[in-house]
């Protein structure tokens, strides 16, 4: 996959030290997201996995994952997310959890709850898993199951959320909100309170991967969004007054902002994703960019993080074009999201069009006005069959 290859980096000290590019200042990869697999029993139409996931190569072995965990920890990684796909479909998950605790990670299982049971929860607890994030699609079975493409999903999720708490884990509940469930935000919050969540992420869909494909059907109108935020604030005040320590985190979609988000705290600064086949990315959606990213099978993580072409590509600010280059906010938002710039303008070095200074900001305004008019186009569900269609059309 990579031109420097494993032979040169492990056997020849000279070529092993030769960087792909001039390294730029980089922080420590404090956050490691381990996408163990693309296998998943659900078919959420807003999944952040790549559209062509079905064409992905062979999954890393247990030993290869252990090496990734060790190397990243050595470089300063402290937070570890086990993600996917559904990470529970990996039979070696418990072994990886044990290794993670042994190395000193604070580990998080990011799961749909499907495939989880009491025995596994106890086993993971004993192995040192620190917390569990259960994702929900909606507050009631009907919408949840429609979106997840599974009839029994909701019941199982509720059961598992209760078990997570019963086992003494801190629990993060994650609700991806969109135009089909955001009007029920009060019921969503009440469900989270009832389940005893410690943190609740009410995260409005971000339009990457499958969600970008389904944006028209997912994006809430401005009125929906404002209403949801107001209700969330009311609940916050009420819950705090009642002495409930639950934390409600409301994430607005950047499509309704005038300045872009400081995506990933800057390219290759604190965040490192390793995909099921070992491709290392500065963020979990970067795979769609026309940039060659390194693979952990070919070279060390240290070499990847500090010296690879892909991880240095958008570090710092000398890659920036106008209006970012001369902008006094570039140190704050780093020009926004490279993936969004690429998806909406065709050039990842452009300003994120969320920014009102971008020449392409009209694309965002257009999406907002489309969100005012409901559409009945069917959604594209994330599954193998649909993914193969995207593989062919590439």
């Amino acid at each position: 996959m990579n031109r420097t290859g494993s032979v040169s980096s492990s056997l020849s000290p000279v070529s092993g030290c030769l960087p792909d590019v001039e390294p730029k200042p980089a922080g420590q990869p404090l956050w490691l997201l381990a996408e163990l697999t693309y296998k998943c029993p659900l078919q959420c139409p807003y999944c952040s996995n790549p559209l062509d996931f079905s064409a992905s190569g062979q999954e890393l072995s247990t030993e290869q994952w252990v090496q990734v965990l060790r190397q990243a920890r050595e470089m300063g990684a402290a937070q570890l997310g086990f993600s996917g796909g559904e990470p529970l479909t990996r039979p070696d998950l418990n072994e990886l959890i044990q290794e993670a605790r042994h190395l000193g990670y604070y580990s998080n299982l990011i799961t749909s709850g499907l495939g989880l049971n009491e025995r596994k929860l106890e086993q993971f607890r004993a192995s040192g898993l620190d917390h569990i994030q259960v994702s929900f699609q909606a507050s009631d079975a009907e919408v949840n199951n429609m979106l997840a493409g599974s009839a029994k999903a909701f019941e199982q999720k509720l059961k598992m959320a209760r078990e997570v708490k019963a086992n003494g884990y801190p629990m993060v509940l994650n609700f991806v909100t969109h135009r089909h469930n955001i009007d029920r935000i009060d019921r969503i919050i009440e469900l989270c309170v009832e389940l005893g969540a410690d943190y609740v992420e009410l995260a409005t869909c971000q339009y990457y991967g499958w969600a970008f494909e389904n944006r028209e059907q997912l994006m809430p109108s401005r009125a929906q969004l404002e209403r949801a935020e107001r209700i969330t604030n009311e609940y916050r005040a009420r819950l705090e007054a009642a002495g409930n320590p639950i934390k409600l985190i409301f994430v607005t979609p950047d499509y309704y902002e005038e300045r872009p988000k400081g995506c990933m705290n800057g390219w290759g600064q604190i965040f490192l994703t390793v995909t099921p086949d070992g491709t290392a990315l500065p963020c979990h959606s970067a795979r769609q960019l026309p940039v060659q990213f390194p693979n952990v099978k070919d070279r060390s993580l240290e070499d990847i993080w500090y010296r690879s072409f892909g991880f240095n590509k958008y570090r710092g600010d000398d890659w920036m074009k106008e209006p970012c280059r001369s902008c006094d906010e570039k140190g704050k938002d780093f020009g926004g999201c490279r993936c969004q710039a690429y998806m909406l303008t065709g050039d990842a070095a452009n300003a994120d069009p969320v920014c009102s200074k971008s020449a392409h900001h009209g694309k965002i305004l257009q999406a907002r006005s489309e969100a005012e008019v409901p559409t009945d186009t069917p959604m594209t569900f994330r599954n193998e069959r649909n993914s193969r269609v995207f593989c062919r059309s590439d």
């Binding site: 420590q28 404090l30 470089m75 300063g76 402290a78 937070q79 000193g104 604070y106 998080n108 620190d130 917390h131 994030q133 003494g168 801190p170 993060v172 410690d198 943190y199 320590p245």
Partner: protein, 89 residues
């Protein structure tokens, strides 16, 4: 408030020495708090068994050159409780 009270961690937080940060840190879901040296030394002695008085005595022994630490420890315990890092058992 008695110095006999026993502090213990909120199960949401885990304290550990972090070599890469050269400090104690508190880890929690999706975050990390880097502690200053004195906060780290105090929290490193919180085990859900020792009382505030015992923790102060242990610190006094570990840092014999320091002036009386009781006030600092008490002040920090209040901060730590407000932050929800610890609870009194």
């Amino acid at each position: 408030m008695s110095v006999q009270r026993i502090p213990g961690f909120n199960p949401m937080f885990r304290l550990q020495w972090e070599k890469a940060q050269d400090s104690y840190v508190l880890l929690y879901p999706e975050g990390m708090i880097k502690l200053n040296p004195s906060a780290g030394e105090i929290l490193a002695r919180v085990d859900g068994q020792r009382s505030e008085a015992e923790i102060t005595a242990a610190l006094q022994q570990a840092f014999p050159d320091a002036d009386s630490l009781a006030g600092d420890v008490r002040e920090f315990m209040e901060v730590a409780r407000e932050q929800n890092w610890i609870r009194f058992l």
